[in-house]
């Protein structure tokens, strides 16, 4: 892509990321908020692709689709608002949030302005992907494999907890609590 096209794409992705990010808090439904957040993240993924990290940017976009859908469904389940279409306010503790937001913005902007920007050109996307693979299966392998196995164990545990067939029988048939007296249960 030529320079002008990259600049134009960067402007478009930034605009989408910022506008969608603001809409997350200004909308009145959890499901809408999740979709705006998805749009914001997808635009950020586009910017990462423009930066030359093609694989990371596309994987971010790929992963966000499922994550945001799960988040929307779980939020709707917790909030007793079956379709997520009942109007509700998406912010709480607004004053604290404003202060925290301004402080975080200033801190990140300060780092961005005061830090040194590397001037070396980005490697081509295929080389960047290969470097990432070597890092993940080389020096950082222990960290990532530990995190991966931990997450896998969590998933297996969550599925075991949610499985229809539990210690007290089939969930579809209703379960019976254990008796208050231990020997009562043993004799039953």
């Amino acid at each position: 892509m030529t320079g002008a096209l990259i600049d134009l794409s960067f402007a478009a992705f930034s605009l989408v990321a910022i506008v969608a990010g603001v809409r997350v808090f200004r909308t009145d439904s959890m499901v809408r908020a999740a979709f705006y957040l998805l749009a914001s993240f997808a635009a950020a993924g586009g910017i990462i692709v423009l930066l030359g990290a093609e694989f990371l940017g596309m994987v971010l976009i790929l992963m966000m689709a499922g994550e945001m859908l799960v988040m929307a469904i779980v939020m709707v389940m917790y909030m007793m608002n079956p379709a997520g279409l009942n109007p509700m306010v998406m912010v709480h503790q607004p004053r604290t949030a404003v202060v925290a937001g301004v402080v975080a913005f200033l801190a990140i902007a300060g780092v961005g302005l005061s830090g040194e920007v590397p001037s070396r050109p980005a490697p081509n996307p295929a080389a960047a992907t290969a470097d990432l693979g070597r890092e993940l299966l080389g020096n950082s392998m222990l960290v990532f494999q530990t995190a991966g196995v931990t997450l896998l164990a969590t998933m297996v545990g969550a599925i075991a907890v949610a499985a229809p067939r539990g210690r007290y029988g089939d969930a579809a048939e209703g379960s019976e609590e254990p008796g208050l007296q231990p020997d009562e249960e043993a004799s039953a």
């Binding site: 790929l62 499922g66 945001m68 859908l69 799960v70 279409l85 996307p125």
Partner: protein, 310 residues
């Protein structure tokens, strides 16, 4: 001006390919339906049927529901059609010829498939109505279940190519197609493909048991557009499947693009047949099969493909 013209030409090419494919699938579906039901196959009425449905849709008014999410209803079909176009852009048509060949083509295609769940959920959620919402939640469960088998089945095709580029994946099949090299890959991919296009036995979000599911509140052009977007997605899935598993443009005598069309048509014919020969699967059964059977099989496929390369 020339990049702009290139973009317009590419968009027109993708729209043309998808339109031809979707029309072929609609006609093939009609033929398969007539053949399975034992009705006489009359060619002209079957060819005219998709056009008649389009004309009827254009003449039918639209409907609305109480407090819908208007933006979501408008965006969902466009998003689904756009995802089909995004996948189609990656299709290698002849040696070294594809509208786009990003180094991460595999990931781009996977992202397009992942976003289908957003399009379908949005389509079912936005009318603010019971049956569409049921369809949306169903597709959430289906999509989260087919995601990993899909990624693993496609990943195995990237191994012999040693690249995530779809063009390289096809080039690596010059001597041996992936369907032979990895016999488990194509069946898993086809099952997942039916789920991605919510078609036939895996038409759970838009099934007749939900009175049309996510489309239950659609009428007229909106309903037609959603159907066209879905057919386009199926065409893209079939075309990319032909590229990843059936050797894409490789084949004797005939030129490359013809082979792409023939192989895509073969997979589409299988899908059209599945629509009429297989009963709809219960969602619990599909989710169970996807996690307990398809994920281990797809993993086995990756390990075996990797072992052959060592």
């Amino acid at each position: 001006m020339s990049p702009l013209l290139d973009v317009i030409a590419a968009a027109a090419a993708v729209a043309g390919l998808l339109a031809v494919g979707a029309l072929a699938l609609a006609i093939g579906d009609g033929v398969a339906g007539a053949a399975v039901a034992g009705r006489p196959i009359r060619v002209l009425p079957l060819i005219a049927a998709p056009f008649a449905r389009a004309a009827l849709a254009a003449r039918t008014g639209s409907t609305t529901t109480e407090r819908p999410d208007g933006a979501g209803r408008a965006v969902a079909p466009a998003l689904l059609a756009g995802l089909a176009a995004l996948a189609m852009v990656l299709l290698p048509l002849a040696p070294g010829v594809a509208l786009a060949d990003p180094d991460t083509g595999f990931v781009v295609y996977s992202a397009a498939v992942a976003f289908v769940m957003i399009a379908v959920f949005l389509h079912g959620w936005s009318p603010n109505s019971t049956l569409p919402l049921h369809g949306a939640y169903r597709f959430g469960a289906v999509a989260l279940s087919f995601q990993i088998p899909f990624l693993l089945a496609m990943l195995a095709t990237a191994l012999p190519a040693q690249s995530l580029s779809i063009v390289r994946i096809v080039e690596a099949q010059a001597s041996l197609w992936n369907v032979v090299r990895e016999p488990l890959g194509l069946p898993i991919y086809l099952v997942v493909g039916l789920a991605v296009g919510f078609w036939g036995p895996l038409n759970l979000p838009d099934g007749d048991d939900l009175a049309g599911g996510t489309s239950a509140e659609d009428a007229g052009l909106a309903r037609w557009l959603w159907q066209v977007a879905r057919l386009s997605m199926l065409v893209a899935v079939a075309a990319l499947g032909a590229a990843a598993f059936l050797g894409g443009y490789f084949g004797p005598i005939l030129p490359g693009p013809v082979w792409v069309a023939v192989k895509t048509g073969l997979l589409l014919a299988a899908m059209a047949a599945a629509q009429h020969l297989l009963a709809r699967v219960r969602i619990e059964r599909f989710v169970g099969v996807a996690w307990v059977l398809l994920v281990p099989l797809a993993l086995l496929n990756v390990f075996v493909s990797g072992a052959f390369l060592l």
